[in-house]
């Protein structure tokens, strides 16, 4: 039995640009078969075994709720900001818990080891203190004042620079990061991952970006994100246990893991246990 709290959330199920007529995209959501397609009138339908699901279109993607939506889909105000380029990056299928995929996205300490010489490099491995909160008004997890040294933050830069990040968990399987923008000092680049939970141990990850960048070719942006996510996949498919532990068990977090701790606590408090394990093991 999947808890109602899980069923009443929004999940990404397709990229709008790729929609087709019936049978459209045949896929799984929370272990159940669905079809995502355009009907004869051009409307987007997400068809489950028991009928159509609630649908929202946003951020280049189709979002579906298999239960009764507990709230509208989270906002990303930057999506409507003039001058931003919205980039769909396709999809990466990963044999891991959807929650592990989100947790990895929130993690910076792995940059020097998994994204070596791109997002991080030894000996610049230190993760300084940052702030984490569960915001009661929006019911989101936020990490702010995250700083990290990056060797190749911009292609033109001769040396590395310290990049500032903010992370936001906006839905159980969706996260948005804000990153200092090399082309616009007053703005943040926005990079999100939307994770479709196919099953508790299988997901599809849709990266999506809203950038101030008129020059880099679209193909290069997509290829860069794909490379990063393929590196992450080699980690995500090799973590034990497969499900995300919500209770302290054999895993030992440190101060650098405060976002992960808050994310797990938030999931547990809300009963969002699909892809998680409650018993320490």
């Amino acid at each position: 039995m999947i808890p109602a709290a899980v069923l009443n959330e929004w999940y990404p199920v397709a990229m709008i640009a790729q929609l087709a007529a019936w049978p459209g995209r045949q896929t799984l959501l929370l272990g159940s078969e669905i079809n995502v397609f355009r009907d004869a009138a051009g409307a987007v339908v997400v068809q489950g075994a028991d009928g159509p699901l609630a649908v929202t279109l946003a951020y280049g993607h189709v979002w579906a709720c298999p239960g009764v939506p507990a709230h509208p889909l989270f906002p990303i105000p930057e999506a409507d900001q003039p001058g931003r380029r919205l980039v769909d990056c396709g999809v990466v299928r990963v044999k891991c818990s959807p929650l592990r995929a989100v947790e990895n996205f929130l993690d910076i300490a792995h940059f020097p080891f998994v994204h070596t010489d791109v997002l991080g490099a030894e000996p610049h491995t230190e993760v300084g203190r940052y702030e984490v909160q569960i915001r009661e008004d929006s019911d989101e997890v936020w990490a702010t004042k995250v700083h990290f040294y990056q060797p190749q933050a911009a292609k033109s830069a001769a040396g590395g620079i310290v990049t500032e990040y903010m992370y936001r968990v906006a839905a159980p399987t969706a996260s948005v990061l804000y990153k200092t923008c090399p082309n616009n000092a007053d703005e943040w680049d926005v990079i999100a991952i939307f994770v479709q939970p196919l099953t508790e141990e299988l997901c599809e990850v849709w990266p999506w970006m809203a950038l101030f960048d008129d020059t880099t070719p679209q193909a290069d942006l997509i290829q860069f994100q794909q490379m990063i996510f393929l590196q992450d996949r080699s980690i995500l498919e090799n973590q034990i246990p497969r499900l995300l532990p919500l209770d302290p068990g054999k895993e030992i977090p440190t101060q650098a893991d405060l976002t992960s701790i808050a994310y797990r606590r938030w999931l547990k408090r809300k009963g969002l246990t699909y892809g998680a394990q409650m018993v320490a093991a």
Binding site: D107, A109, H110, P112, F113, V114, E122, P123, T125, E126, V127, S234, I235, N238, Q239, I240, P241, K250, E251, I252, P253, T254, Q255, A256, D257, S260
Partner: protein, 202 residues
């Protein structure tokens, strides 16, 4: 119980490989100075397989966040907090790991005297085969099994196969009585793999 996890020659200094002991998955590695260690294949930080890690000097580091462990399994470095001394509680799960007569053995604990006697034998090669012990028995008439150790004759030379359960198949670690026969025994082993995989289908 001791379980063979490969031949010494397959694990050079500075290398880590996956292994197992009675269903437990392991990371087995050799330091640059040659020290051997076998640990549970799970980093105490966030569960990444340590067999995907990297060896530097006398330490093994996890590939995810670079937590670094010494041969005794204790964590000596957490790169995210370079000035912090890791608490003693952060430790890999250590198994006993020894090598004798060119074979790497893993056990929970216990006297090395219980290791099968392979003195006088020289290592040939390890192979993986998709099949079970029943198929191996049919493929190797004339061989006598004593636990995981199978002995027989091939072309006038004595051959020992140390058998290791490996997922859906078996690892066969072959040794023979005379170095001059290694090539011939290695070729024979290829035939055994084919036979076992045919037997496993029938």
């Amino acid at each position: 119980m001791w379980v063979a996890n490969g031949l010494s020659q397959d694990l050079p200094s500075g290398v880590v490989m996956a292994g197992n002991w009675q269903g437990a998955e392991l990371a087995i590695w050799r330091s640059v100075s040659g020290r051997l260690a076998a640990w549970g294949d799970r980093c105490p930080h966030r569960g990444m397989r340590l067999s995907h890690g990297f060896v530097r000097g006398e330490t093994l580091s996890c590939i995810y966040h670079g937590w670094t462990y010494g041969s005794d399994g204790a964590c000596s470095k957490i790169p995210a907090h370079p000035t912090m001394v890791p608490p003693a509680a952060i430790k890999a799960e250590v198994y006993q790991c020894v090598e004798a007569d060119g074979v790497i053995w893993v056990g929970p604990a216990g006297p090395e005297a219980d290791l099968p006697d392979l003195s006088g034998m020289v290592a040939v090669r390890s192979v993986s085969v998709l099949g079970d012990v029943a198929a191996l028995t049919r493929a190797l008439p004339g061989f006598v099994a004593d636990g995981a150790l199978w002995r027989g004759q091939v072309g006038g030379v004595s051959v020992s196969l140390v058998v290791q359960a490996r997922g859906a198949g078996l690892g066969l670690h072959a040794l023979c009585g005379a170095a001059a026969h290694r090539v011939a025994v290695s070729r024979w082993l290829d035939g055994v793999v084919q036979l076992v995989e045919q037997e496993a289908l029938t």
